[in-house]
């Protein structure tokens, strides 16, 4: 296995045209896959040396641009992210350990469609958009259409995620809850991201609920979120929406719990997250 280090997106794409090549960001996911022999790529194309994939920008009405190679460490310590996208900084700070966070990238967190990752539900709740380029040109894919299934995203093998953009939502409130009732160093049993707005009358004008760890990939609980819009926050409303979110989840049995338990936890943590995020 060889590792190459192109310095431009074009050069990287050229290398990725070879089907035995695989792009690698921080290597925390790819490294595990290679170690566990799930994949055996002949060539790893490191994206770390491509300046265009780095950087965090605030673009006024244009929202926020996060280069695909932005590390979790950079997200946590960025004044822009901590001030304007706090649920993203919060989630990033809870992934792995300092060694992982210093190399793991936001692009890597979304590219695999890994259901256990923390950033996908947060980015879903924030209406983020993945910018993808490949030999057939560039595409902008809303994250709501990006996660296709278990370890499957809309980016093709010969494509790269160059950046993630997050639209500006003035007055938006957002939270992320990572439920790890066993070891804190485990993947979340359930991850719940909530974002929404209230108007001056205290009426919910928009809401998103996204779930991690409880389906083949990160999902949006559309129906539950839509129930909230036009309503005033209340414990009863949140409990109803949480029950609908739980019904939308499709968890599988594993060491973290049975399908039944995880579904019950979606209800608890969606209700609690809504209360934390959207209560008056």
């Amino acid at each position: 296995m060889i590792i190459t280090r192109p310095t431009s997106v074009e050069a990287a794409l050229e290398e990725l045209a070879d089907e035995n090549s695989l792009a690698v960001g921080g290597g925390t996911s790819i490294g595990l896959m290679v170690k566990n022999r799930l994949i055996e790529p002949e060539r790893l194309v490191s994206l770390n040396g491509i300046a265009a994939l780095h950087g965090i920008e605030e673009r006024g009405e244009g929202g926020f641009r996060l280069g695909a190679m932005t590390t979790l460490h950079e997200l946590i310590h960025s004044p822009i992210v901590t001030a304007s996208l706090p649920s993203l900084a919060f989630a990033a700070a809870r992934v792995g350990n300092p060694r992982v966070r210093s190399v793991a990238s936001i692009g890597g967190a979304i590219i695999h469609g890994d259901p256990r990752q923390d950033l996908p539900p947060v980015l879903l709740s924030l209406d983020a958009i993945a910018h993808v380029v490949g030999p057939r040109g560039g595409r902008e894919i809303p994250l709501a259409e990006f996660f296709l299934g278990f370890m499957e995203s809309a980016a093709e093998e010969d494509e790269l995620v160059t950046q993630v953009t997050v639209p500006l939502r003035t007055g938006q409130r957002a939270t992320y809850t990572r439920f790890t009732p066993g070891s804190e160093d485990d993947y979340p049993t359930v991850g719940v991201a909530v974002a929404g707005n209230l108007d001056n009358e205290g009426v919910i004008t928009g809401a998103k609920i996204a779930l991690g760890g409880v389906d083949a990939t990160a999902i949006l609980a559309h129906e539950a979120a839509e129930m909230l819009v036009g309503q005033r926050p209340s414990e009863g409303l949140f409990a109803e929406a949480a029950a609908v979110a739980a019904a939308a989840a499709n968890p599988s049995d594993d060491q973290r719990g049975s399908e039944e338990y995880k579904r019950a936890m979606v209800a608890v943590w969606t209700r609690r997250s809504l209360a934390r995020c959207l209560a008056l």
């Binding site: 009732p181 160093d185 049993t189 594993d254 060491q255 719990g257 338990y261």
Partner: protein, 699 residues
């Protein structure tokens, strides 16, 4: 004093078996070092129809592919010799060795192993004790009584490895019937791995049937020779096991493992051969802790004094029984330490199942039985309407009393240790809306000692080099040895060097284990010091075989208090605090002593609620350290230690064992705290959030 091994470990300079290469002096001048990889069963229980090796043999760099017919056909084991070097006609657990590929590099060996195909004819998989002992169960071994070291008679119940009974059961039954309060409950524990950092690794360098050199992650190198000799039909002295540090043992590095096979691979190829297990292999095919089912019937009188106890214990040994130093396995689970009772009996079975073979792990047998017994004590106290802590205090043995097994210790300090722990414990604040409770667990253990040998070689600078057969497994035993020996000889610690030597250099040693390593050395140091001072000449070296006699029977108590907080809506449990009261004689090295207390407690914590190989269908699902959750620093509670000094130890150094004292009480202390918090009793480990959730929401 800081640990002798600390610098090399912290800087990465310490060498382990996996680090040794053909370029190292140990293997200089030998033929090229080859590498082995194993083909392991992907079936839980099956007849092997065919092993196809042609493709692997054709791979450039592959030296040979070996199956059962190529290697010694006598099975191996520590006492019961029932483990084939390679599975012959049948695999009995998922992960069992079927074939070995030897190649010029590890990568090629592993690529070769991936090319070997095995055709199976599936047999009924009996993963649980209940399935394997059912009347119509398939025999996992056709004639288990025929193995060398077997302890059952021909025609014994299906899948039985050993059975033992203690005490007068009829008497217990009669007294139980009279008891004012009784409980009859069954407790279950899971399979857990020792979790050492260094996976098992072996290099064998076969010279001839007279001389085989070996580097192996093994805690008792002298005894390893007997295991190798038994399987390979050679005299133990043939095997010259070389000294090398071990990256953690926790009981798991005492079995023969892959060593007999690697010796055979070296013999077959004529080259030294190296095998390093991937950690996932160690998780699925090591020798983890026995899962247990323990039924406890216990009764007390109106005042809460224990009158009768019957414990019925069944241990799931997995597919083989050869990983424990006795064929009956973890029989110490039959004991009832710490408390007095008018009558006591226990029954014990060890059974085969189609799961990974089980071995020893820190407090083997006791970790399982103390969870059951200390949970049962709590249940009986509750039934009798007595505070469980007071109930224990009233029933703890006092100095002068024999224990339930009839043994007589020099002293019993359980009450003092309990009082000190209770006095020192102060609960921590609990998150709003969470339930909280405090529970207790108690364990006591005697300090054994075994024969050993050592050589004292005077150094040019007027000091001494002490050659020992005890490997440093990471607990700091060599540091303690140096302090004990320097004290015994009247030297400064810097004048004493402790050196682990090859098995050919010393006649006997029993290795590390049983919380006896320091005590055994300290007793030897007393004798060595006398002989040292009586030498005729200052440059004379001494070889001593030590069998200490007239040593008083001493033991230690550990009383733990655990505080838990529980989110009733989710079942999430946080262990907030564990206070450990420990009675001590002399503490040789305070840092190493504290590490044993904290490490043992953390291991108990993992056992209580995190660790589980998750092998419900015979597959180990937690087959990597991402899924197998050892407690991390973030998972450890506040830990408080209360040392109750003034106890009696052995030897002039006045020492007692500590290594296994703090693991067994932790899980029951947490389960008992969970009961105090929620009013719900969970009798099965681990105490997962889901089990707690269902217990709380049962109605």
């Amino acid at each position: 004093m800081s640990r002798l091994d600390a610098r090399a470990k912290a800087t990465g300079a310490q060498r382990y078996v996996a680090d040794l290469s053909g370029a190292d002096p140990e293997l200089a001048g030998r033929l090229e070092l080859y590498f082995a990889a194993l083909v392991r069963s992907t079936s839980v229980h099956a007849r092997i129809v065919r092993v196809t090796t042609e493709e692997a043999r054709a791979l450039p760099g592959v030296i040979g592919v070996y199956v059962a017919a190529d290697v010694a056909d006598h099975p191996c084991g520590r006492a019961l010799e029932d483990i084939p070097l390679l599975a012959d006609d049948r695999v009995r657990f998922l992960g069992e060795r079927i074939a070995a590929v030897v190649a010029t590099s590890r990568q090629i060996a592993e690529a070769g192993a991936a090319l070997v195909t095995v055709d199976y004819e599936e047999l009924p998989a009996m993963v649980t004790i209940a399935a394997a002992t059912a009347l119509d169960a398939t025999a996992i071994h056709a004639a288990p009584w025929s193995y060398d070291g077997a302890v059952i008679a021909e025609g014994a119940d299906v899948n039985l490895i050993a059975t033992r009974e203690h005490g007068d059961r009829a008497q217990v039954e009669a007294i139980l019937a009279e008891c004012a309060f009784q409980i009859d409950e069954t407790y279950r524990t899971q399979g857990v791995h020792q979790g050492y950092l260094e996976p098992q690794a072996c290099i064998a360098d076969y010279h001839s049937n007279e001389w085989v050199r070996l580097w192996f992650t093994h805690k008792a190198t002298n005894r390893l020779r007997t295991m190798l000799g038994g399987s390979l039909r050679l005299a133990p002295e043939v095997f010259d096991v070389q000294p090398i540090e071990i990256g953690g043992d926790f009981g798991g590095k005492g079995a023969p493992g892959e060593a007999p096979l690697v010796v055979e691979l070296s013999r077959l190829t004529g080259h030294p051969v190296k095998l390093v297990l991937r950690y996932g292999e160690d998780l699925i095919a090591g020798n983890p802790r026995h899962p247990a089912e323990i039924r406890v019937r216990m009764g007390c009188d109106e005042l809460g004094m224990i009158r009768a106890l019957f414990a019925d214990i069944t241990m799931n040994s997995g597919a083989y029984g050869g990983c424990t130093p006795a064929a009956d396995g973890v029989r110490s689970a039959m004991e009832f330490p710490s408390y007095r009772t008018e009558s006591f009996a226990s029954a014990y079975r060890r059974v085969y199942t189609n799961t990974v073979h089980r071995g020893f792990m820190r407090a083997p047998g006791e970790a399982q039985s103390i969870f059951a017994l200390e949970s049962a004590l709590d249940e009986l106290a509750t039934r009798a309407g007595i505070d469980p802590i007071l109930f224990r205090r009233n029933n703890l043995l006092a100095t002068g009393e024999d224990d339930a097994q009839g043994a007589h210790w020099v002293e019993h300090r359980g009450v003092e240790v309990l009082d000190a722990a209770v006095a020192a414990f102060a609960p921590l604040p609990v998150p709003e809306g969470w339930l909280s409770g405090v529970g207790m667990g108690i364990y006591s253990r005697s300090t054994p000692y075994v024969p050993t040998s050592l050589r004292l070689v005077p150094t040019a600078s007027g000091g001494v080099c002490v050659e020992v057969g005890v490997v440093e497994v990471g607990g700091g035993s060599h540091t303690a040895f140096r302090e004990i020996m320097s004290e015994a000889l009247g030297m400064r610690p810097e004048q004493v060097e402790i050196r682990h030597v090859a098995t050919s250099n010393l006649p006997i040693d029993m290795g590390v284990g049983g919380s006896r390593t320091t005590a055994t050395f300290a007793l030897a140091a007393d004798i060595a010091a006398k002989a040292w001072h009586n030498r005729a000449r200052d440059d004379e070296e001494l070889l001593l075989e030590v069998r200490a006699t007239d040593v008083p029977l001493v033991g230690s108590y550990c009383v733990q208090l655990a505080q838990v907080a529980v989110d009733p809506e989710t079942g999430e449990m946080r262990v907030l605090k564990i206070t450990s009261g420990v009675d001590v004689a002399a503490v040789i090295n305070p840092l190493a002593h504290q590490m044993q207390i904290d490490g043992g407690t953390t291991m108990g914590l993992g056992y209580a609620h995190l660790e589980d190989l998750d092998e419900h269908d015979g597959h180990v699902w937690a087959a990597n350290l991402g899924e197998y959750k050892l407690p991390s620093v973030r998972d450890t509670p506040q830990m408080q230690t209360v040392l109750v000094e003034g106890s009696v130890g052995v030897s002039d150094a006045n020492v007692k064992g500590i290594g296994e004292l703090t693991t067994p009480p932790t899980a029951p202390a947490i389960a008992n705290a969970l009961f105090q918090a929620t009013g719900r009793r969970i009798r099965e480990l681990p105490l997962t959030p889901e089990r707690i959730f269902h217990a709380i929401h049962a109605d």
